[in-house]
Symmetry: C2
Subunit: 802 residues, 2 copies
């Protein structure tokens, strides 16, 4: 077990006293206690003060051991000193660790050091000031079950006892983070309809967007609160079945494309801002919404903030159930749909109480400060909003968002879309208006026409960057000004790491603070892991950006936090990702040092029929065979090159690339490359495992969450793909210009792989697998094409951490 903590704010003694007074651990009575031991006892008694009876509180203390032989009640009732070991013996039991299982009473500090728990700098025995400082640090230490001790106490009702007291601070900040002092039993849930400056369904009226909001009841008594806003196109339902019929069949040949001489201007898209109908007449104003809702989707990160005095707002956007408009998959229209809600929250746009009466309702309970959250499409809309520089948006916490749709479905002139997905499929998937029968009856024809237009314009067969793609390149216009916290999985094969890489690069030109967290998972949320205090980091971040608390969030948090792939539960802080700290090392693929187990320099992309069918049904088997060092049915269908075993650990930080000299035997061709880590190891699973069910308390009798972790696999294995890349040999220059391709002619390809941050352990070997059809991503026509690679004039370039 390892526990990493990045969200702690170093705090001075006087500030500690003030904060402990604010949260009522110190009061007029116990501040006077001179004995360190008795002060400790007083703090312990307060930890259990949710119980009305003092006997019960003492029993709780008596159930813990302070030394090997004396329980914490007897110990703190004495007249002696408070040893460091006794303090932490009790402290660890408060943190949920079990004596003799997790640690030994003879030496609690040993386990704390091993696990990474902070030990306060105190003398032994502790002075009175030491007790105060160490107690503060303990409250800000993470329990065995992945949350801060103060959050666990809050979950058990610690703050709840003070809620009747008008003088109790709300919001309440402790160590820079907003505390769970809001009453989630009385949240107000309302629906409003924001009038967007859009008319996507061309019905002559501005599109109304359904917005669901949850706000603390305290807002009804004058408090204004910041907003955590999630734009979630899936939020009103998805058309799982209906969208299937739009998906494309990947079992088709790679087609030759007609060469062209396109420049960017040929594919440049310009957004048409015209033709927005005038706003509706406002027939009146009210502060009272008239519709409520029940959520069935649970987003525990947002729920955590509801207990801490933030409102939470959800909007599914244009083309979703109870809203107007159509889904467009990533255009400026969807961005405008997302930011219309922020504009309303910021006081810059109108919302109505219902879709008919035109009675306006403002976000009168909001401070106007908005932060966005969400993963995947939800994160994509956060990125899109961020890049507009819309007023009111103070930050976004983006998990695995798309910054350019071209890189989502396509790569270097190739389709790379598992299951034949494309923009049309996703548009139909999210078009939940179709589930509202009466609504759909009125718009069925224009919707189908619109969808067919998407299907035509995306030009699924070509894989080239075109005007359709340009309209969905969110990075094209960049007015970003809000600080941003980015999160991405280095093993995310859905929204790939290049999305966040390119976004970071674009944001570097702007005057804003950006932070990045890279984990070793796939397409996952991070807010319930034991080894990493993600939720606390987000709290520190949003308390800073939305509540304007000067908590040093920008200074305390490293610019880049990376989960180590080779050591479980280990997270490191770095200055940057792929910046000056890495230097490019070049490996000649034909070099004598390099190992080519099969001795191949060419390969056939054609598999015999049964083998091909086996692989299309069992992609994992295909991967195993492809990535094995040698001696699999994929020998002769790829080229594998390995470095000698590494003499030291080697860390790649950035984007590997290859310069390849390749011939195709036909007038079409594609090349795929995988960068491999060979070497026996118990590697981390990229799917989180549940460590403890429902143990995380996000508030008092509020949402619980499972504790999770990326755990090492039980079986060691030899092979891990680090990153990959694909290229259409007809797109050697860029993704929109189509080059000619002569059979059996050598061409230079420059293939940039996905970016990564990867530790190759000493003794491991770096590998490169060069192949063509990617059964998981590209079209798979099982064409009779032979590829020849001139290894002598091919190189691998690796950005290696100095």
């Amino acid at each position: 077990m390892k526990i990493n903590q990045f969200g702690y704010v170093p705090t001075q003694h006087q500030q500690i006293i003030d904060e402990l007074r604010d949260i009522r651990f110190l009061d007029l009575e116990n501040i006077k206690i001179k004995s360190p031991l008795h002060l400790f006892r007083s703090l312990l008694l307060k930890s259990f003060s949710v119980h009305q009876g003092e006997t019960t509180r003492i029993a709780k203390i008596a159930s813990m051991m302070a030394t090997e032989t004396v329980d914490a009640d007897s110990y703190t009732n004495g007249s002696g000193t408070l040893s460091k070991s006794a303090f932490y013996n009790v402290g660890l039991q408060l943190l949920g660790f079990t004596v003799d299982l997790d640690f030994s009473l003879t030496n609690p500090l040993k386990m704390m050091t091993e696990v990474g728990l902070p030990i306060a700098e105190v003398t032994d025995p502790l002075t009175r000031d030491d007790v105060i400082d160490a107690w503060y640090r303990l409250l800000n230490t993470r329990t065995k079950f992945g949350q801060l001790l103060i959050d666990k106490l809050a979950g058990e009702g610690y703050y709840h006892q003070f809620l009747a007291d008008e003088t109790f601070k709300r919001p309440l900040i402790f160590n820079g983070k907003a505390q769970a002092v809001f009453d989630t039993d009385h949240l107000v849930r309302e629906v409003v309809y924001v009038e967007s400056p859009l008319d996507i369904d061309h019905d002559g009226r501005r599109d109304l967007l359904k917005v669901k909001l949850i706000r603390p009841a305290e807002t009804d008594r004058g408090l204004t609160v910041p907003v955590v806003y999630t734009a979630n196109p899936y939020g009103e339902g998805t058309n799982d079945k209906w969208s299937e019929s739009w998906s494309h069949d990947n079992n088709r040949p790679l087609k030759r494309k007609q060469p062209n001489n396109f420049t960017y201007r040929d594919v440049q898209d310009t957004y048409d801002h015209s033709k927005v109908p005038v706003p509706r007449t406002i027939n009146g104003h009210t502060k009272q919404a008239e519709e409520t809702f029940t959520m069935t989707w649970i987003y525990s990160l947002n729920d955590y903030f509801l207990a801490r005095g933030f409102a939470v707002v959800y909007s599914a956007g244009i083309g979703t159930k109870d809203s107007d408009g159509f889904r467009t998959t990533g255009t400026r229209d969807e961005t405008i749909s997302a930011i219309s809600v922020i504009e309303w929250l910021h006081g810059d746009r109108t919302a109505f109480t219902n879709r008919v009466d035109q009675i306006a309702i403002s976000a009168w309970w909001a401070t106007g400060n908005v932060g966005m959250t969400g993963r995947s499409y939800l994160g994509t809309l956060s990125i899109a909003s961020e890049l507009t520089g819309v007023g009111g948006l103070k930050t976004a916490v983006v998990e695995a968002g798309i910054s350019n749709y071209y890189d989502y479905y396509r790569e270097n002139g190739l389709m790379v879309s598992p299951d034949g997905d494309d923009a049309d499929v996703l548009a139909e998937f999210t078009f939940s208006r179709q589930q509202s029968a009466a609504d759909y009856a009125q718009i069925k024809e224009p919707w189908l026409a619109h969808l067919k237009q998407i299907k035509r314009d995306q030009d699924h067969d070509s894989g080239s960057y075109n005007r359709f793609g340009d309209a969905r390149n969110l990075l094209k216009e960049n007015h970003a000004k809000a600080d941003i916290l980015l999160v991405h999985g280095l093993n995310d094969g859905n929204v790939k790491p290049a999305q966040v890489w390119n976004l970071r690069k674009a944001l570097k030109s702007k005057s804003l603070t950006q932070k990045l967290i890279l984990h070793q998972g796939q397409h996952e949320y991070l807010n319930n892991f034991r080894s990493f205090d993600f939720t606390d980091i987000v709290n520190l971040w949003l308390t800073n950006k939305l509540l304007n608390v000067a908590n040093q969030a920008n200074q305390v948090l490293p610019n880049v936090i990376v989960q180590d792939n080779a050591h479980a539960e280990t997270w490191h802080g770095y200055q940057d990702w792929g910046g000056q700290e890495a230097s490019i090392q070049i490996y000649q693929l034909g070099d004598d040092q390099m190992i080519n187990p099969g001795g191949h320099t060419s390969f056939s992309d054609h598999l015999d029929k049964s083998q091909f069918e086996t692989y299309t049904k069992d992609i994992n088997k295909w991967r195993d065979d492809l990535y094995s060092r040698d001696g699999s049915p994929m020998d002769g269908h790829c080229i594998r090159i390995l470095t000698p075993p590494l003499v030291n650990d080697l860390v790649i930080n950035g984007r590997p690339s290859l310069a390849l000299t390749v011939k195709s035997s036909q007038m079409v061709g594609m090349i795929s490359v995988a960068l491999m880590d060979y070497g026996k190891a118990n590697r981390l699973t990229a799917d989180p495992q549940v460590l403890a069910s429902q143990q995380i308390l996000t508030g008092y009798h509020w949402r619980k969450d499972d504790l999770k972790e990326f755990l090492p696999k039980k079986k060691a294995n030899d092979v891990k793909r680090v990153v990959q890349g694909h290229i259409n040999m007809q797109n050697r220059e860029n993704a929109y210009k189509v080059d000619d391709l002569e059979p059996n002619t050598e061409y230079q390809l420059n293939l940039v792989l996905q970016p990564t941050f990867w530790r190759f352990l000493k003794g491991h070997q770096i590998g490169i697998v060069i192949y063509a059809t990617d059964m998981a991503y590209t079209v798979r026509g099982n064409q009779d094409i032979r590829y020849q690679v001139n290894l002598a004039s091919s190189t691998l370039r690796l950005p290696e951490l100095k």
Copy 2:
């Protein structure tokens, strides 16, 4: 999709009107409406009355289609009639079904018939009375997401709007079921310590038992409520790691036992009631508890009842954290621990506010009526309590409980315990007092002595029924008087179906009503399935037994409900299980009609070393090889006999058995038998799959639950084990008398398999696999023993449904 409903109570028109008034769908205003169409509109408007604005309510109606071309708003605003088809088009949309995906507006009744949704007996067009009756039936129809429409509306806030009204009935009964009219935002959570008549840890004081209770806030204003009580030994934590060290190694040989002439008297245990210390002095009385708690375990069935005016009580019992005593794994002491809580709830026993002050607190908020719930060990304690006839216990809903511990770990003189579990392992696993360091420090020595005594007395090696086992045979004393609802998985390999079979048999001698539900899962809870209204059934049951509502629960519910193994999502009602409705058919195993694919009549139980090691690591592979018809590495290690393909479906209802004539080549021997279903089919998975996440609303802004189902496997396969059995050849007469065993001598074995309810489809073949070592259950010493079966004098007896 199929939806089966057993919990509906047929109701007369006048009663329907009264009930609809109670739940406020009919009121003084709309009762006067003459037009069926306009009455329907009024009911629809009330369905959405949680929204304050009439415009919003109308918009909700307008979003549904009544006919292929007219929406429900326009339709119900007209002056025409209300067609049956329009009623159900709207009704299905209210139930969450999607137009064009789940059903067609041209013929809603077609889909309803296919899925099994009830269609009210009404004329077309509907009369005014028809509208009332059909609306009532619709509210009591299950939605696409596995709950009644009225429960879905309640989850969205329907009842919440009436809570401020003092005249609104609480509890409120609708169609015989308690409604979600209680405010779960203000539940009272308290801890008390019940003083049990036990002193298991021999400290000279009666053992105090921690009890957690959750009661509606309405009890503070004079309401008394019944209790749903779950005795959960896992509830205060489990010693996963510590108990591992106690587990036994199954890789050991079967040992010869010394023959004896034991009669039952030699193994009979008598419970020692003496030596209970006197009760503690009561120092005072209070109504006010002084300790509260936070739950991390979620039991959604209990939570469902919290919203419906039942209190919920949890107790982990003797030997768990914050209680006294030791774990004993299934003795009378654990039973007394469980019923002590019921006695307190019923007013017959003392509880204190804490462990020290001896201030008594009664369950003053309780009616004294208690029903128990829970699965596995939890269900076991329900059975144990039921059999005592304790006052106050009105019913138990038992999911997969143990009725006799001998049958849990042992069978016919053999250990049949996966992973080498036994009573000692389970005692240590549940002894959560060990997690409380200071408590454990005081009792470590006596606990370890107690645990070692369990280890000695259980006599793990022998597998025989002994005095230790007799002390854990719950069926020995039977004073049962409470009606009982039993639930068991026919594929439960943990708590096997014989446990419920034997319990049912024992309860038949008592004057009580018992109901049984048999599903096709393993060791699973049933309360969130789409195809089956388990939660509604339990509601009907507890409303009858605990609230004393005359809702005809005993008459409405079939005695036995069985999930069909051969047809997905299909549940049938039966009169009995294994009673007169089945007749015994005898199959001679050596008959010419029978197929013996390998031609074997003898087999060696010895595997070569690598094969043996492969199987111990991969039990599923062993099973596949064993159960395959022929041509696997297990050929020659078993005998397989098949019937010819069946000409018609054949249903087994009861306990199959075999009379076998067998020789062992050694002085020890065991025989295992599996009854097989051979024939290609997409069989049901025994693990439930999630159909829809968090869609079940158990109350208003209260607990949500995932919707689940046992789905057919995507791949057809040939083989399914139906039931199995094991016997030690030295226990030919019974489990306690050890017989002699001469090598190479024929013995008659009578082996009764687990009971079942199983449909063999026409064309399938019934199979018997006879083998010895069961890699999954028995010891596995890989001994060199050869078994010979005299097939000519061996028979299979099947109880077949007439």
